[in-house]
């Protein structure tokens, strides 16, 4: 930059730098805006509450309704309970290349999960149903650790997501998929 000869000169340089800063911030806005809208990477944000004390008595999160189910119209929904210190169920089959809706809640404390190698990631907060929508591209097993401290057993809280190629994808008569029948 030019050597400073007087105060006006200094202010001019400052002004030029302010323009550069404005430009940089505009670029940042654009990058973040585009990555949020165009790539449609939306974090789980539909506020849906549920009473944590009666989660297991609810129709949706009753033990028999957990896991992966395919509706008659073909929509795939995974329902999971995150509880100290396990996910129910522990193995979750999903079809490759199809939209999947994952719905999770906790009856006790805060948990969270990510599915390694994918963008699926959410906090699981008691009192709310967290919903994540995603499409699994690569077939194979993906680890699904609990990623928020939930107590002394937290390190042991892992599940497995099994992405099954369409050709091998099978469900039972009720539209439920299980890890031992699809592989």
């Amino acid at each position: 930059m030019a050597p400073i000869t007087n105060e006006q000169e200094l202010q001019k340089t400052e002004f030029r730098w302010a323009m550069i800063v404005t430009g940089a911030v505009t670029v940042l806005f654009a990058v973040i805006g585009i990555s949020s809208f165009v790539m449609a990477l939306h974090p789980p944000s539909h506020v849906e509450s549920i009473d944590p004390a009666t989660v297991s008595q609810s129709k949706e999160f009753a033990e028999s309704n957990l896991g992966t189910s395919v509706d008659p119209d073909g929509a795939v929904t995974v329902r999971i309970i995150a509880t100290q210190f396990a996910f129910v169920p522990r193995c979750i089959p999903v079809p490759q290349g199809k939209p999947v809706t994952i719905r999770v809640t906790s009856p006790d404390v805060i948990h969270g999960f990510l599915i390694a190698g994918t963008n699926a990631n959410t906090m699981v907060v008691p009192g709310y149903v967290a919903e994540v929508r995603t499409v699994f591209g690569t077939a194979g097993d993906h680890l699904m650790p609990c990623h928020e401290f939930c107590g002394l057993g937290h390190s042991e809280m892992w599940a497995l997501v099994r992405v099954v190629p369409q050709a091998q994808w099978q469900t039972d008569a009720d539209g439920k998929a299980r890890c031992d029948i699809s592989r």
């Binding site: 550069i20 974090p43 009192g127």
Partner: protein, 541 residues
């Protein structure tokens, strides 16, 4: 300067760094556990108690005490008048000490293993929370004294610009006051009643939102002393002048404004908030980069002035001409470089969409260790090396071990955090004690974890060398006890009142906070939500 508060300041710094030494020891041990090397005491109980202690000391105890001591030093040296009340300052100090003495035993006895972020419904011993409340209340004494000191000086010096370092210092006092509101409300109205057994349930959405209120600006509270030093000490240490006093004031003001209404970027992955306010706070987060970019420019220009005054020529020749042997110059440069790495990671974190790849993975741990350890703490070292000789009247024996210590810290930070970035992208969750490396899907994580553990031991060695460097200072030659601050190229004669006080600033903060948090907090009082049952970790359930 005629007025001093040496013992007060040394007491703050002394306790801050003693706690710091303990916390880095815990940090290195935690990394050893995570690497699967099974060091002594490996157990989930010990690991998570250690993580709680490490976070509590590094987040609440060390920086708060350090910043209080720093503020007292800046106040007496820039205003050249005594503190408004030395007695209240000591009272604040002792409140913090009592608070620490209550909180840490609760943590080490395993009765408060909730991590420093609390995250109810997990609830620990009431002594842990009450101790932290005392730490915060003690720091509010400091806030009051700093505001009072500036007001007194302004009254006696009407129309004159408040010295830049003091202006930044009071900016930080106000920032801290605003910052602590969230966590104070969470602790006093939600967590402490639960830990006393008065309430059996907690509104988790509200608790998380209040904590997010605090969790972002607290980082800027830690950071502000570093920025103050960039503007008011580093240019002089380099042998030059501050390029622009006004840029400093503007940056401090913007740091207060933009660091507060943005904490919900920590809740992007949370189900209790809708898209709208997450998006709004993300956009406000982008603005936090403005004061940092202004600072990079102003300090770069100030350093250029210094380099050219020392005979540096050409486009980059001035860089080589800087006095790199001086710890302050070296630390400033290292701090900027690590801020660059940490800032890059942060931009990913704050991106509403991209955050999904790395939320709650080791990537996040890497990011905030780079900002906290790399940018902030390295400047705390430099500040201690600058102030300690003035406080005890002794010159360091040699600058060599000081430079070595700073280099080791910066290298240790890189070695520790770069593997965490990689592991985070691969989905390694943070806050996990041990991994099953016999699982072929994650077996390859172990090597990177071991590399970062080695980084942890480099940091530990550097931290201990830092303590050693301060202790050996007492054997040094007599030092000049006068503190000199950098002078601006064109020292201001008058500054607009908005940049000489905080009335407008606080008004704007109030407006922004109402806009950013008004609905997100209020919603919990009218949407149909259900509280969670309290889980008492201190009672074993």
């Amino acid at each position: 300067m005629t007025y001093r508060a040496d013992r007060l300041i040394l007491a703050h710094f002394g306790v801050a760094f003693a706690a710091f030494a303990l916390a880095i020891l815990l940090g290195a041990w935690q990394m050893t556990v995570r690497s699967g090397l099974e060091p002594a005491f490996t157990s989930p109980e010990a690991y998570f108690a250690s993580v709680t202690a490490h976070g509590t000391i590094m987040g609440y105890v060390m920086p708060t005490l350090f910043i209080m001591g720093f503020g007292y030093f800046v106040s007496v040296t820039t205003l050249d008048r005594p503190l408004p009340s030395l007695r209240l300052a000591w009272a604040g100090f002792w409140l913090v000490i009592v608070g620490v003495a209550m909180a840490l035993p609760a943590v080490f006895s395993g009765k408060a293993t909730v991590l420093y972020t609390f995250y109810p419904p997990l609830t620990g011993s009431v002594f842990y929370y009450l101790g932290l409340v005392l730490v915060v209340v003690g720091s509010w004494f400091w806030v009051g004294l700093m505001i009072w000191a500036m007001a007194g000086w302004k009254k006696d010096n009407p129309g004159k610009p408040v010295p830049l370092a003091m202006y930044g210092n009071v900016a930080n006092a106000f920032l801290w006051l605003w910052t602590t509101v969230g966590v104070a409300v969470e602790l006093l109205f939600q967590v402490i009643p639960a830990s006393l057994g008065w309430t059996q349930t907690i509104d988790i959405g509200l608790a998380r939102t209040l904590f997010a209120w605090t969790l972002h600006p607290i980082v800027y509270f830690w950071l502000l002393p570093a920025y103050i030093v960039f503007y008011t000490i580093a240019p002089r240490a380099a042998g030059g002048r501050l390029y622009s006093d006004m840029m400093g004031r503007l940056s401090f003001l913007l740091l207060v404004l933009y660091s507060l209404p943005v904490g919900m970027h920590h809740l992007f992955m949370d189900p209790e908030h809708g898209t709208g306010f997450k998006f709004l706070q993300m956009m406000l987060t982008v603005l936090v980069t403005v004061p940092t970019l202004l600072t990079i420019f102003t300090i770069g220009a100030s350093m250029e002035i210094a380099g050219r005054l020392r005979g540096g020529k050409g486009l980059f020749g001035w860089i080589g001409a800087l006095p790199w042997d001086r710890p302050m110059v070296l630390a400033t440069c290292l701090s900027f470089v690590l801020l660059g790495f940490g800032g890059f990671g942060g931009i990913i974190n704050m991106s509403y969409g991209m955050n999904a790849m790395i939320h709650n993975t080791s990537w996040v741990t890497a990011h905030f260790h780079l900002i906290y350890g790399g940018t902030v703490v390295i400047m705390y070292f430099a500040i201690a090396y600058e102030f300690w000789p003035k406080l005890v009247g002794r010159e360091p024996l040699s600058l060599k071990p000081i430079r070595l210590q700073l280099w080791m810290w910066a290298i240790g930070m890189v070695v520790t955090t770069f593997p965490w970035h990689i592991l985070g992208l691969e989905g390694q969750p943070r806050r996990v004690a041990t991994f099953d490396y016999t699982n072929p899907m994650i077996a390859h994580w172990q090597n990177w974890t071991i590399v970062s553990m080695i980084g942890g031991y480099i940091l530990l060695t550097s931290g201990l060398l830092f303590v050693w460097n301060l202790l050996t200072l007492y054997r040094g030659a007599e030092a000049d006890r006068q503190m000199h601050y950098a002078v601006a190229v064109y020292p201001p004669h008058r500054v607009p009142s908005a940049l000489n006080g905080f009335d407008l600033c606080n008004g704007l903060v109030l407006f922004l906070m109402l806009m950013a948090y008004g609905y997100p907090v209020a919603q919990f009082f009218f949407i149909k939500d259900y509280p969670a049952l309290v889980h008492r970790v201190d009672l074993g359930n």
